[in-house]
């Protein structure tokens, strides 16, 4: 197979990136980012939900019990021969750090002192060929393989399930961390799947380039994970979804290597690249991604807006995106989120809660490009009922945009249940879907005696529709996992029953798997199984995820 990438290797970088921090085993992110609740917020929560803010209930690592490793010493040795014995970890700390992702379910499970599920070993392969060798070994020896990037999944995508195998290993891809080629003419870069968001931006930045992909998980999630889950970042209005950026993929499977994608476009049959983008480790391990990149923006302009209500604001966003204006960031919080964000922020207690809905726009590019696009967008937003609030609220949003998951840990510590979920639909159906999901969440939690606050925002816009992102907050019950299971099921049923997708950018994992048949139909599920059977005949790849 011809390798178009080889032709565009105009430069390579062997500079290693700054090492990526591992997230805490029992919370989002790093300890330095933890955000204890202020006394004022604690008071608000007590008033709103009747909970008593406390110091948590998280057991220490010593108090946690992991299931015994079932990986035999022979296999530990055998795998060590493939990746080096030093790159096979079976200690409790390594296993616990890959025991799951960062959904609220995961974080609650980590708090248990009952035996917890965990991978039976953690492997750190050095490169694509080692990954292929590991997969072939595991395929021959009934060992399940869970690819592990940043571990940021919020849908059970890295649950260490064994499926029908005898053991399960986590395949930590952090050593696949090189920027191996850039093509500044074509605007593409080839990167190792294990690079985290900041590492990728660091290596590209040295060449004046950027991806422009900034999901909330940016600080920890990996390039391979973005591709495997169809991630979408906060700048998607300007730079597109991550799946739009993927020009080429190299994938290791138990059957060998598959390489897909020739930039810029092809009519050579079905786009198989789109089968592996979003394959969540079930069809292979993405080891290398060639991405569309762009020069670091010369300038960024910020402008925040206020709208009298969500419906008016949504129509204004629609007008902007359908006019082809292409802001870099374009988002709108509903009335509840606009108010709560202010109340919950660092300044809580001091700032007055605004009325109406807050929208954010940013514009990146050359000075001339930014000026023309900002002017066109401002005219449209103003015509559609928006009031300009200046740059400051937009800058503040950007400053704090990766912090919400830390807040969730503080809430969970305080007896408050907090989780997010998201969907997307057409513009004409947006109000119906938002109403249905909000009602489903409210009913499911109120019915359990814990009436929730449900916040919503639009963070991804398209000519034909938009995403809806919900944040749910209520008092925790004694069994918060059971409590949230009821609410999650109700919300998911409401999504697929009201013209929404089960997920716009969080992926399927194990949590959304029961709704995949509603998403793609019985024949669609059969097709997914048939494809898996080609590349993973032993069924070792990320069992229990994606495919019903």
């Amino acid at each position: 197979m011809s390798d178009v990438n080889a032709l565009s290797d105009l430069a390579t970088s062997d500079v290693p990136p700054t090492p990526a921090p591992l997230m805490q085993w029992n919370a989002w992110g790093v300890a330095a980012g933890n955000k204890p609740l202020s006394p004022a917020v604690g008071t608000l929560l007590s008033q709103a939900f009747g909970v008593q803010v406390s110091d948590g209930g998280r057991p220490s690592e010593d108090a946690v019990i992991l299931r015994d490793s079932t990986l035999t010493a022979d296999h530990v040795a055998g795998l060590g021969e493939l990746v080096g014995a030093a790159n096979v970890a079976t200690d409790k700390s390594a296993r616990l750090l890959r025991a799951g992702g960062k959904s609220t379910f995961d974080l609650l499970r980590r708090r248990s002192t009952d035996p917890q599920n965990a991978p039976d070993a953690v492997l750190f392969p050095a490169d694509h060929d080692e990954v292929v060798a590991v997969l072939q070994y595991c395929s021959a020896n009934r060992i399940a393989v869970v690819p592990f990037g940043g571990g940021t999944s919020v849908v059970g995508g890295v649950d260490p399930e064994r499926g029908g195998s005898d053991a399960a290993i986590a395949l930590d891809l952090r050593r696949l961390n090189s920027l191996s080629a850039i093509d500044p003419i074509s605007g593409t870069a080839r990167m190792g799947a294990g690079l985290t968001g900041p590492q990728a931006e660091e290596l590209l930045g040295a060449h004046g380039l950027s991806i422009g992909h900034f999901p909330q998980s940016f600080q920890f999630a990996s390039i391979g994970g973005f591709a495997a889950t169809r991630s979408s970042g906060q700048a998607s209005a300007g730079y597109g979804r991550f799946d739009d950026m993927v020009a080429h993929l190299k994938v290791a499977t138990p059957r060998g290597t598959i390489e897909l994608g020739k930039p810029p476009a092809s009519a050579a049959g079905p786009d198989l690249r789109e089968l592996f983008v979003g394959s969540e480790g079930a069809f292979g391990v993405i080891t290398e991604v060639t991405l569309r990149v762009h020069p670091v923006a010369e300038r960024t302009d910020y402008q925040a807006w206020s709208f009298p209500d969500f419906t008016t604001g949504a129509a204004a966003l629609r007008a902007v995106v359908q006019a082809g204006v292409a802001p870099t960031v374009l988002r709108l919080s509903d009335e509840a989120e606009s108010g709560v964000n202010l109340a919950m922020a660092d300044k809580a207690g001091g700032a007055a809660v605004t009325s109406g809905c807050l929208a954010i726009t940013t514009f990146e590019g050359t000075a001339a490009h930014v000026a023309s696009r900002a002017a066109e967008a401002s005219a449209i937003l103003t015509e559609n009922g928006g009031t300009a609030l200046g740059a400051d609220p937009a800058r503040q949003w950007e400053h704090g945009r990766f912090n919400a998951p830390y807040m969730r840990d503080a809430l969970l510590d305080s007896g408050v249940l907090c989780e997010t979920l998201e969907t997307a639909t057409t513009w004409s159906n947006l109000g119906t879907l938002r109403g249905a999901v909000t009602a489903a969440l409210s009913e499911a939690l109120t019915g359990q005696g814990t009436p929730p606050l449900v916040l919503c925002h639009i963070s991804h816009t398209y000519p034909t529709g938009a995403s809806l992102y919900f944040t749910v907050i209520c008092a925790q019950k004694d069994d918060p996992i059971a409590q949230w299971t009821v609410a999650k099921r109700a919300a998911s049923d409401a999504m697929v029953g009201n013209g929404g997708t089960i997920t716009h950018h969080h992926a399927v994992g194990s949590d959304h798997r029961p709704w995949m048949t509603a998403e793609v139909g019985d024949l669609g599920v059969e097709i997914l199984r048939a494809v898996k059977n080609v590349v993973d005949p032993a069924g070792i790849l990320n069992p229990g995820k994606l495919i019903p």
Copy 2:
């Protein structure tokens, strides 16, 4: 499965479109469009290629012999029960009209007085359910099914091959011609697969909407065909490829119905819609397509440009598309094409051949949008070596943009071999690929004693790369099919060997099938076969196309 489209049915149209003309059985288009060569062009051709312009050598329909139909009377009756006896045609004329597409190979084959391949019958189903019923009948009875839209394939996509079956029918979809739903808020419309380009624009135009998809085949090709082949139109810079526009597909398969795609975007696993877009009838018959549409443009501005050479012009186009300016049309002819187009046009003989390369830009939208984008593009093109030529050459290009295939027939009649082929690659590789394909064509034809003229243009641009579209003209030899086979093979090998795709927008069909393994690899081919086996276990769907 939830049907998001039902929620957005804000209006439906039962108005039938103006009937679509059938193309001539032995030439492109309709007789009224035929373009005999002017005496001046005839003289030019004689001088350039040593051929004698004559009146053709196309046999009359009476002189053509078709293979005998192998469809039994029982099956004719059985199929008639499914679609109505009046909608099963076995007469020579109906069969001959669906005997193939419109590649030069096809047109040369139609000139043969040896027995020609043809479908054993032509069916005209009324709707999706009838298509499903026909496929199930044919699957049970070893009858191959070749979906037939406009019959414009130039890659053997509608060759009436039987594969392992006893007979082959053409499934003409022209009765699936309704606009069944529009959603002006979300900018989507649901259309029958059999609507031709002009019919679809006519029905949408009554609602002030347009698709904006104008490939050279526009006047005859169908909505289903556009989706099944990953078509890309001349306004792709502004409105995207057809695959970008497809929000939802309804597909009939021998296993039943599959519906895929929820606008606007989803992270629910692999995008199976992308398996059926480009499936060329091998995975099912697309019966209904929900497309992204837009309001009819308020205004269109035209501007033509001259560049000193192709390399300079290509770099200028790259600068425009990478700046995100988004013209509606953006194209560049090389030196040879710029000159020949003038010489071959209606005015040939009178007009002076310009030097350098001609580029075309158009801008559609609101007056403000057009003004801002045209200004930004003009500044970039001027900075990059372009000289503005005013609107007229761009309007002239638009006026004649669907006529080239008629010219090919006139050339074939005159003893001149003429065909087009196309590919795409990254911007940095564009010069290498253009050189390699041009050299391969020149060597292959010069080696046969017929040195060619090879013209090239860029008609589709992306941030990471562009298409290359070649027109080849040389003297015909006694066996022009054998002659062109050598050249086509050489060009295709050059494409896949030099970082190009085997096809940017013509699709695979039977002509490009030998290069599919180079395109997607052995495992990719296995995946295609596995998917086909799910939806078409008897292997009746469009045999001999797409999948090696």
